[in-house]
């Protein structure tokens, strides 16, 4: 788009003139519209958008890329309840979800999801069940919402297959004693995509994220996990490989709001070509969340001198009886290791590729899928 870069205020003005979508009419869009009217959409140099030019995504929002031809494809076993967001039953599930899973004012672009929502599913995994995986293959519209309720002591795996969108919101609550293994697969994409994963983990429940990403023209993932109940457990793993001028921005926040929680975050990324990789990983321990144990570890390989990596691991701690640490590194492929491989008869390109694979594997729990997706070779 030529001319002035689109900022939050001017986008809001144009969208409000068009009005919200009519999908899922039961959905209360007031908070979303209020936020947009209050001009709360991020402006171009907002701290949370330091390394991603949000104006480029706003252009996509404004252009409005509805994909009416696609259909809803969700695979799920019988014991799991899955309803379309347009179905009034989804409204009931939204109530079952309980308290808000994330703060809209802290994630203002999710207001666009509310205003422009075009497709979505609500998923309920009944208490005590251990069904086979639920697979989100594709959803039809540009603005999508997935709501997951894992009831007490239920265990399930949710897989997001590669598919495209302008904004996708995934909300999940893992109720006491429940477990959710969440796999996100992100293929290389020419599109500009933003997503928000917001999870609330209740007492003795586990949430595990395994995210494998190839880059996009602009890809931004916000992940907010809250340990809301005692002795909750969160494991986040992310691995990515970027080439050419791809862009990936991961903004991760783990909130320890209750005592005795454990969180583990491991990220590994490789940036090649003229790509840009961003990881902002934040750990926040609320007052009273004693005996919290939180770590974050991110390692990055810069495979070319024209790629860029930005890492910002943050700790914000308001309780004293805690164990918290983070580590971040940015570096090159270890040429000593490559040399060692070569002395054993392995040629240099193969050696480098082996090295990269080994490096990324620290954040990958399913090598087969990672290979299929092309994150590792």
């Amino acid at each position: 788009m030529a001319g002035l870069a689109l900022n939050g205020a001017s986008l809001a003005e144009k969208l409000l003139a068009r009005g919200p979508t009519s999908y899922a009419p039961w959905l209360d869009r007031r908070p979303h519209l209020d936020l947009i009217e209050q001009r709360a959409l991020p402006e171009l140099r907002a701290e949370a958008w330091r390394h991603t030019n949000i104006a480029r995504w706003y252009e996509t929002v404004l252009a409005g890329t509805e994909r009416a031809t696609r259909s809803r494809r969700v695979e799920f076993p019988g014991e799991v309840e899955v309803v379309d967001f347009a179905d009034p039953r989804a409204a009931e599930l939204l109530v079952l979800r309980g308290e808000e899973i994330f703060r809209l004012d802290a994630q203002p672009i999710a207001a666009l999801n509310g205003m422009l929502l075009g497709s979505g599913v609500a998923i309920r995994v009944p208490a005590g069940t251990v069904p086979s995986p639920v697979r989100i293959v594709d959803l039809p519209a540009a603005y999508q919402r997935i709501l997951v309720i894992v009831e007490p002591d239920a265990r399930v795996e949710l897989i997001e297959e590669p598919s495209s969108y302008t904004h996708r919101l995934v909300e999940a609550v893992v109720q006491p004693g429940g477990r959710l293994l969440h796999r996100r697969l992100q293929a290389a994409s020419p599109d500009r995509e933003c997503s928000l994963v917001a999870v609330r983990v209740q007492a003795n429940a586990h949430y595990e994220l395994s995210q494998l990403s190839l880059g996009g023209d602009l890809r931004r993932n916000d992940i907010v996990a809250t340990l809301a109940g005692n002795a909750a457990n969160v494991t986040l793993r992310g691995a990515w490989r970027l080439v050419e001028s791809q862009h990936l921005d991961n903004q991760v926040a783990v909130h320890h709001d209750a005592p005795g929680g454990t969180s583990r975050q491991t990220f590994r990324g490789v940036a090649d070509g003229r790509s840009r990789a961003v990881l902002n990983g934040r750990i926040e321990i609320a007052p009273g969340a004693q005996q919290s144990d939180a770590t974050l570890n991110t390692k990055n390989l810069l495979a070319s001198d024209t790629a860029e990596v930005y890492a910002k691991p943050e700790l914000e701690i308001y309780a004293n009886d805690v164990k918290c640490s983070h580590g971040a590194t940015i570096g090159a492929i270890d040429e000593d290791a490559v040399h060692y491989f070569r002395t054993r008869g392995i040629d240099a390109p193969t050696a480098r590729s082996l090295f990269v694979r080994g490096f990324l594997r620290e954040a990958i729990d399913d090598v087969e899928t990672a290979r299929r997706l092309g994150v590792i070779q």
């Binding site: 910002k312 701690i317 308001y318 309780a319 004293n320 971040a328």
Partner: protein, 497 residues
């Protein structure tokens, strides 16, 4: 929270804390002053410049900074909270009455007594407090004493002059060394760098100036001691240190202020320039009045400190021990331009009561094979908030550059906060950046071990905290290390009442 942790909180808890007896520097000196009325406009900027009989270029420089400052919004991004500052309610100039003393003999005896009380000798016989007089091997320290807005004395000037070292007040430097001042002033921290730097550029009243000529090792430690005395007065000093090719200088900075119920603003700018093969070591023990137990009063310490390693193989090393100020907001930084240049930042920041600190560093790697090391130790107690904020940036030319960062936080009690906000940015594959951060507390087990061996809990906490800070203290010159450890102990001990 365990009963044990409660006890620990009591040890350093606000109920016993800082009622005054533990801030020994909190007295006021009664002295006639020449003070500008509160308020800031172009006339005030001109008046400051006129009081110092500055050349026209300097007045224009200030006015330019003032105009830029007026355009700038107040920054709010740091993890600190304070009410809006009324910049029209501050007096921008306050100096002891009378002509500037020509020699130490002319300095007002009341001022000499003030510095004596603070342990800072303004005569050339003695050494810094704490160094025994009979110890002939103890290094001598030259002192520049800045009282409110002006430098009141600089010691050992003649001996330094023999070595070719210039050590004088900034006012004097503008008169006597205009070519150096014009070349380097604002070259490291440009006027519009940030809100407080712009303000400082407009109204700075004095500060220290150091020039160490080529291939000269400065024969003694240089030191500036900053003292805020007057009420409702801001201190805006400006320090410029230039180490020419192959030169070495170690510079120490200390600061205190009386206890007052109002907050006072201290917005200094320090610029360091290291040319080829030069080395500058800059150490600070910051003990501005931190405010009382309820969070009233104290200094707002909003300081811009930056050095540039201009020449190849040059080195700039910052060490800071921050125990004072209601709010500390500073990031002593290094621009690593020369090939193989080295930047270091070692920091201890202790906060208690309602103190807030947001401090750290920026290491910007521009030249090839540049190296930087960051070691930060934050200790939070009471209801304080203590943040490390840092940025390490590897620019495209910094081939083979390396950074290592270690940030540790120690929490005492469960009503304080410890935070880490590192920005790590790299644009080239051959650079290596490593960052590690940990958070811990003084453990009940450590305390019990000390107690079992007969050491009371107060001493035990001081000892454990000292151990936690060891990696930083060992980078300080000996006399300062002793002072820093004592200061830390007093800050923790005083809290026990």
């Amino acid at each position: 929270m365990s009963e044990r942790s409660n006890e620990l909180t009591d040890l350093v808890g606000e109920e016993h804390a800082a009622t005054g007896h533990d801030y020994a520097a909190g007295f006021v000196t009664e002295i006639d002053t020449d003070t500008l009325p509160p308020g800031l406009d172009e006339d005030v900027v001109r008046a400051i410049s006129a009081k110092k009989a500055e050349p026209a270029w300097m007045t224009e420089w200030r006015l330019d900074a003032f105009r830029r400052w007026q355009e700038m919004p107040t920054p709010r991004w740091a993890h600190v909270q304070f009410p809006d500052i009324d910049f029209q309610g501050i007096s921008y100039f306050s100096a002891p009455k009378g002509d500037a003393p020509k020699s130490l003999d002319e300095v007002d005896p009341e001022l000499l007594r003030t510095y004596e009380k603070l342990g800072i000798p303004l005569h050339e016989r003695a050494r810094l407090a704490g160094v025994e007089a009979e110890d002939e091997e103890a290094p001598q320290v030259a002192v520049d004493a800045v009282f409110d807005s002006v430098s009141v004395a600089t010691t050992f000037k003649e001996r330094l002059a023999e070595a070719g070292v210039v050590f004088c007040s900034m006012s004097e430097a503008i008169q006597e060394h205009p070519e150096l001042v014009r070349k380097y002033l604002g070259s490291v921290v440009p006027k519009p760098d940030n809100f407080y730097a712009a303000l400082n550029s407009a109204v700075f009243s004095d500060g220290s100036f150091v020039y160490v000529p080529k291939n000269t090792r400065c024969p003694m430690e240089l030191s500036t001691y900053f003292r805020i005395n007057a009420e409702n007065t801001g201190q805006f000093e400006r320090t410029l240190i230039i180490a020419d090719e192959g030169a070495y200088v170690s510079y120490l900075e200390g600061c205190t202020a009386p206890m007052r119920d109002d907050n006072q603003l201290h917005a200094a700018v320090v610029e360091l320039v290291a040319l080829e093969d030069a080395e500058i070591k800059y150490s600070t023990v910051q003990n501005w009045y931190p405010g009382d137990a309820e969070g009233n009063g104290g200094i707002y310490n909003f300081v811009t400190k930056r050095g540039t390693c201009l020449g190849d193989r040059s080195k700039i090393s910052w060490t800071q021990v921050e125990t004072g100020s209601a709010i500390t907001w500073k990031y002593p930084s290094v621009m690593l331009r020369g090939a193989d240049s080295v930047g270091e930042f070692y920091s201890v920041a202790l906060t208690r009561n309602f103190q807030q600190a947001d401090t750290g560093t920026k290491m910007t790697h521009i030249g090839p094979r540049t190296k930087s090391t960051i070691v930060s130790k934050g200790i939070s107690a009471g209801r304080s908030q203590n943040s490390y904020r840092g940025r390490v940036r590897m620019n495209p030319g910094a081939k083979g550059a390396r950074n290592y960062t270690q940030c540790d936080s120690l929490l005492i009690g469960d009503t304080c906060g410890a935070h880490t906000f590192p920005y790590i940015e790299s644009k080239l594959s051959t650079a290596v950046v490593e960052h590690e951060a940990t958070t811990s507390k003084v453990s009940d087990e450590q305390l019990f071990l000390c107690q079992q061996r007969g050491i009371d809990p107060e001493k035990a906490v001081a000892m454990i905290v000292n151990g936690f800070c060891r990696d930083v203290f060992r980078t300080l010159p000996m006399e300062f290390a002793v002072e820093a450890a004592k200061l830390l102990e007093v800050s923790l001990e005083g809290a026990v009442g």
